[in-house]
Amino acid sequence: MMNLLNAISHLRSSRAKSRDAKAGADVSRLRSTRTGLGGALVAALALAAPAAAQDIAITNAKLVIGDGSAPVEGSTVVVRGGKVVAAGAGVAVPAGVERIDAGGRWVTPGIVAAFSRVGLVEVDAVGGTNDRNAPRTRFAAGLDIAPALNPMGSPVAVNRASGITRAIVAPGGSSNLFAGQGAVVDLGDDMDMVTKPRALQFVAFGEDGSAKAGGSRAATFLLFREQLLAARSYARNPAALAEWGNDAMLQRADADALVRVIDGTTPLFVRVDRAADIVNVLKLRQEFPALKLVLVGATEGWLVAREIAAARVPVLVSPLTDLPGTFEQLGATQSNAGRLKAAGVDVSVGVFDDDDAHKMGYATQYAGNLVALTRLPGASGMSWDQAFAALTSAPARAVGMEGSIGSLRPGRVGDVVIWDNDPLELGSRPTAIWIDGKAQSLTTRQDRLRDRYATPGEGALPKAYDR
């Protein structure tokens, strides 16, 4: 999907996105200006020695746990040693813990970007800064995005400032059917970005898959099956790989990765949109029963919602996709997410098919739109509580990490956001963020540009001296 849409839109006027990126435009990279809590010096220190986790108690909060329960006013959340230890209305503040009065504002877990490329891309059309795709590699499933992640990239800071604290990051594509292994990351202001490496394997079926596999859906499904069977043989007899020689269907690294897919260790995120394709993807478990499938996109999912629910397969949607952008999205509607949810499917809300690297902050806007749909006759949406959980605990569950991220239940990471308003309302912004219990900078290079040009015109010296 992304491939095609990008290909056709890259000249549409403005958005030269990833696919027309020209490598070689290796201009000097503008590094994000990180100013820590008030200046370059603080930033430098922060980078040299990341802030330690604080023990904090945020009181007087309109508290959202993120598990689908309703907000509760007058609540407290306590974070110690980087983890949530308690959150709720009757929680006492332990001695020796810094008390932060939220003043009645919304306090939530950080948003988990459900499907993204944050950290992999600085500027889409500047090839050297774009590690989304690897179209000329000889490897595929074995690719691991972890070393491509750049925690210093300005998209990390910009996404964080919009309330994103964790992200599921998937590779875009390789030269083969499987795109490689994604990671769960944090968006903290430090050099350690990876929360869980090799947290997922990504593959596209449908039109994108066909393009990789040789031109048809039949080729896609056969290639998928043959590669998994080859990996299974390899698992039983690793020496066989050498015997296959040049006829090997897989590189060793690819086989290793696929073995973990076959046995369910690594969730398999599958981009798929057409209803019939979804049904066929669900059937893959007949031959590979341990596959831990997660559907990505599922634009026509509502047409087969019962089948998806029965298979107990989670779905990540970009919920405002409502145009028949391709023939596999003819049934597109913004009511897809609500209908899936109503059928009992575990639905996460993400931001993809438009910008999956820079604008994860759209997730809250999209979720707010789902709430709006509940007021529209004939439409299906989500309640506020469901919609917010679709941004936090649902993606955590999809990637098998509900025990550690995505909510403010005890034991989860101390990713806490205080908002200036209802987080699903337009333009609401965090006023404070902790990741793993560490206070985060909310300043981005965009803010610095804004401040420099807050008053137009030059001063006594050019703008270049104004910082």
């Binding site: 403005s14 597109a332 703008k463």
Partner: protein, 468 residues
């Protein structure tokens, strides 16, 4: 010019073409009239609008909060419209004449319909298959002779989404930005039609799409021809404008000219009849374009995308040039790297004309939401724009920039009844259009599935007539 044909033969050919294209359809002869008159006979409207307002009923919407589009606000107000025109906008005591349909909008909001000044609907329709890729005539860096209306597919399902989810009542469909001069744009009413002529906004001036920066130099540099640099962009533009100036001079002096469709568009720009819509991201490039426009005697109506307008907002205010902007798109290419979330309010605050645009079949469905994000970002830095003033970014300012501001874009007596009833404050994520009227005709009603247009393409497909 037609290669290989010279001298008198060329003149004869051109005159024959002139005759064919004469607006009154009568044969013209070369010697019968002065040349200047002949030139004027080039039909400036050969594909005329056939749009006529659909039938509406006299309607009163009462109990609503009204943003009039020009910055005014009335709480618990009444909007009256009939015969396609706004009749009155007033407070709760406004008399509702007998025989009017009354819509009780308590707790709801009424605004002028949103006008998107930057769309490619119809030219890059859904589905986005190669066969539908009709937005860039990327075979020459200057193609002022192409007209985007000749690419518009009226069956693009995107029009209906922009109406039902976006409250968009008019839009400008532009050629893409592969070319320095991409061709003419067309202003449409967002009504379903069998033909593009049935959508054309009657009497709207034409526009010319131009593009700065990365796209033209990448596309043509990649083909090994000019322009391959930003300086090449300007060189090709200036040479083309110089040619256009000579063409126009000939016309103005009453000399016979070989009709040249490209030059005709550019001469229309130099005569002030065709408005410039200039895709341009970087502040420094906008400043250069302004000088180029003065060098050749034209005016830029609007810089589109204008990601760095905030850096030169004072200059844009002084020059009277609008900026059509996104709320927060950034980072997809180098010239979009210096985006700030406060671009729209910073431009507005400097006294320049600010417009929120989409350039996208998805964002056109929620331009009100994009404006809301920009509005909130501005307020956070102390730029306190009211909701009702912010609505100028969505209707009045784009209408003025399109040259249709005297007919639509605000709720003033006598203007087109392009009206949206929102089921809440349109700057909230929880709000949707409930009814949309275009020229007083109810074209969308969220409460009535029969008032939900379904394009030919979607008829008989999964989800036909569904909420979208």
């Amino acid at each position: 010019m037609i290669p290989g044909i010279k001298g008198s033969l060329l003149a004869a050919v051109s005159l024959a073409l002139v005759g064919c294209a004469a607006s009154d359809g009568k044969p013209q002869t070369a010697s019968a009239q002065p040349a200047a008159e002949k030139s004027a006979k080039f039909n400036k409207d050969p594909y005329p609008s056939t749009y006529r307002p659909y039938a509406g009923r006299p309607t009163a919407v009462r109990g609503v909060t009204i943003f009039d589009g020009e910055g005014g606000r009335i709480d618990n107000g009444v909007v009256l419209f009939a015969d396609g025109k706004v009749e009155a906008v007033g407070g709760g005591d406004t008399a509702i004449p007998a025989g009017y349909d009354v819509v009780d909008g308590s707790g709801k909001f009424v605004t002028p319909g949103i006008i998107d000044i930057h769309s490619h609907l119809g030219d890059y329709p859904s589905p986005g298959v190669e066969a539908h890729s009709d937005g860039n005539e990327a075979t020459s860096p200057t193609t002022p002779e192409v007209w985007s209306e000749h690419s518009v597919w009226p069956q693009d399902p995107g029009f209906s989404r922009a109406l039902a989810n976006g409250g968009v009542t008019s839009l400008l469909v532009l050629p893409g930005s592969a070319n320095l001069m991409g061709g003419r744009s067309v202003t449409l009413k967002n009504v379903p039609s069998r033909t593009v002529q049935g959508m054309k906004f009657p009497g709207a001036p034409y526009g010319l799409k131009m593009a700065c920066g990365e796209n033209p130099k990448r596309v043509y540099g990649g083909k090994g021809r000019a322009p391959s640099t930003r300086m090449g962009n300007f060189a090709v533009n200036r040479a083309t404008w110089q040619k256009a100036a000579a063409y126009k001079k000939k016309m103005d002096e009453g000399k016979a000219v070989d009709r040249d469709l490209a030059m005709e568009t550019l001469a229309g720009v130099l005569a002030g009849e065709i408005l410039i819509h200039n895709h341009c991201y970087r502040a420094d490039e906008m400043a250069l374009v302004i000088d180029m426009s003065k060098e050749f005697g034209y005016k830029v109506s609007t810089f589109h995308h204008a990601v760095e307008s905030y850096k030169i907002a004072d200059l844009l205010a002084k020059e009277g040039i609008c900026s059509a902007m996104w709320a927060d798109w950034w980072g997809f290419k180098m010239e979009a790297y210096d985006s700030v979330n406060e671009n729209v309010p910073l431009v507005h605050n400097a006294g320049a004309c600010a417009i929120v645009h989409s350039d996208d079949a998805n964002q056109i469905q929620r331009l009100n939401q994009e404006a809301a994000k920009a509005l909130k970002a501005g307020r956070r830095m102390g730029i306190n724009v009211s909701d009702e003033v912010a609505w100028t970014w969505l209707s009045h300012n784009p209408a003025k920039a399109l040259g249709i501001g005297d007919r639509t874009g605000s709720l003033k007596a006598g203007k087109m009844a392009d009206v949206v009833l929102w089921n809440g404050n349109p700057f909230s994520a929880y709000t949707r259009p409930e009814k949309v009227w275009i020229d007083g005709a109810l074209m969308f009603d969220a409460m009535d599935p029969k008032r939900r247009p379904v394009s030919d393409f979607e008829l008989g497909q999964p989800g036909e007539g569904d909420v979208k």
